[in-house]
Amino acid sequence: MSSERPAEVIYLDHAATTPVDPEVVRAMQQVLSPAGTFANPASTHSAGRRSHARVERARRQVAELLHTEPDCLVFTSGATESNNLAILGAARNRAHRGRHLITMRTEHKAVLDTFAALERDGFTVTRLSPDENGLLATATLEAAFRDDTQLVSVMHVNNETGVIQDIAAIGAACQRHNILFHCDAAQSAGKLPLDLARLPIDLLSLTAHKFHGPQGTGALYLADRTGCNIAPLMHGGGQERRLRPGTLPIHQIAGFGAAAELALAHQTEDLARLRMLNDRLWQGICSLPGVLRNGAAELAFPGILNVSAADVDGESLLLALEPVCAASGSACNSLSGEPSYVLRALGRDDRLAQSAVRFSFGRTTTIQDIDRAIDKYRFSINKLRSIGPAVERLAG
């Protein structure tokens, strides 16, 4: 509604994707330089062997982030592919063990749509609802177990609200019942501590671009346990344990590795900073009437603040917020325009869900960004309400 439009955007959509860290860019540039390790890591000549070593160095960096072994990681093109590979690959490969699968209604599209595809192929899918805090109670999960349940998929951090599931408890329940557990950690890997040496997780998806790594590269972790065998999605070449063929993109993988190393090194300070930014933003806007936080602060990852506002249209609010860039619902759902199930699960009606704005922060977010967002949000809410019918009705 304001006419000034500075060229500089204030980017508060880090849950959708993050700017690549300059150190990560440097690692990528090294590979991309004329003297870089660009050769095919599958080639046996000296250039290929150097590339191979470069890839394995990055694999170790990612493994260290997750406290696991490099051999447990398969590089993919991102979390969408990792989710598909894990879910389709496990379900199809283990169909003899049963055709019942369990997931949650609050998962990301890359999980929900994949389960829908399996349903069309004759699998039975139970979609559990979270409690009023967005959480899956272990008892709810265990009540859903059947003799033919072979796979459970529950995300770690929700991409809309930041709500954190208790994956240790969920994984333990699955393990007790000898059911494979997949976790979509796209929103947590590189941000929250993830110790796969201890967590009872069989399959875990992650993607570099959510923690200042490059877009288009990710990994699937496969626990080194019997029963974790999955079928590949694609065929050809023997790369990545035959689970993911194709020439490995070395600069991408090098960037992923560098991002993982940075994330691990900065994890504690990054988290503390995100908490501070989150608190500051919420304190700055919570005094507006009719503004609600979606997802309790103490249950959610602090990199995300999701807020609803009564009597405001979400799409108009996002436009009014410019040049502050934030998201409405999930970046991946914004194509469909469907109201978010995730917020309705938290008890928001369609109107409140529709007004929700997701602010999300990263390593480069400054206090100035937050203060600008506070001003813009307050101004926009007031402005939109002032031209809306609710005011008139109150007045009339």
Partner: protein, 140 residues
């Protein structure tokens, strides 16, 4: 190949940034009326108010809870109506409105809602005008 909505058209952005017809009537008119429409879930709400004099729109105002396209369409409609005879044909032309503002087809429902509000306004105007005429007649 992409399903991302295009950028809002400059005209939508302009109306959204300065919706000069947003709000309430600024003066009193011989004939005044309002028309409302609300989407099922309550996500979109439109209130149109108009003042006429001598069978012409003198002032038309909107209050919209809705997306930028809907706000812009209401603004465009108010702009166009002011000064026109109340019975001017096709003051509301849905497809023309959508074309001039580049409203994506997915949003035709919202423009239909605006049409509902407009028609409610026109009906209310007719009723008010009738009463106004009666009042004038009474005064004679």
């Amino acid at each position: 190949m992409s399903t991302v909505p295009d950028a809002y058209s400059p005209r939508v952005l302009g109306h959204f940034a300065q919706p000069v017809h947003a709000g309430d009537l600024q003066a009193r008119y011989p004939v005044e009326a309002r028309g409302e429409a609300t989407e099922a879930g309550g996500g979109c709400q439109i209130l149109l108010t108009a003042g006429t004099e001598g069978n012409a729109f003198r002032e038309v105002r909107h209050r919209v809870l809705g997306c930028p396209h809907l706000i812009a369409a209401a603004e465009e409609l108010c702009c166009r109506a002011e000064g026109q005879p109340v019975d001017a044909p096709a003051l509301f032309d849905r497809s023309e409105l959508m074309a001039v503002l580049d409203v994506p087809v997915e949003k035709s429902g919202r423009i239909l809602l605006l049409e509902d509000a407009w028609q409610a306004l026109c009906r209310a105007l007719k009723r008010s005008a009738g009463r106004a005429t009666e009042a004038t007649d009474d005064q004679r």
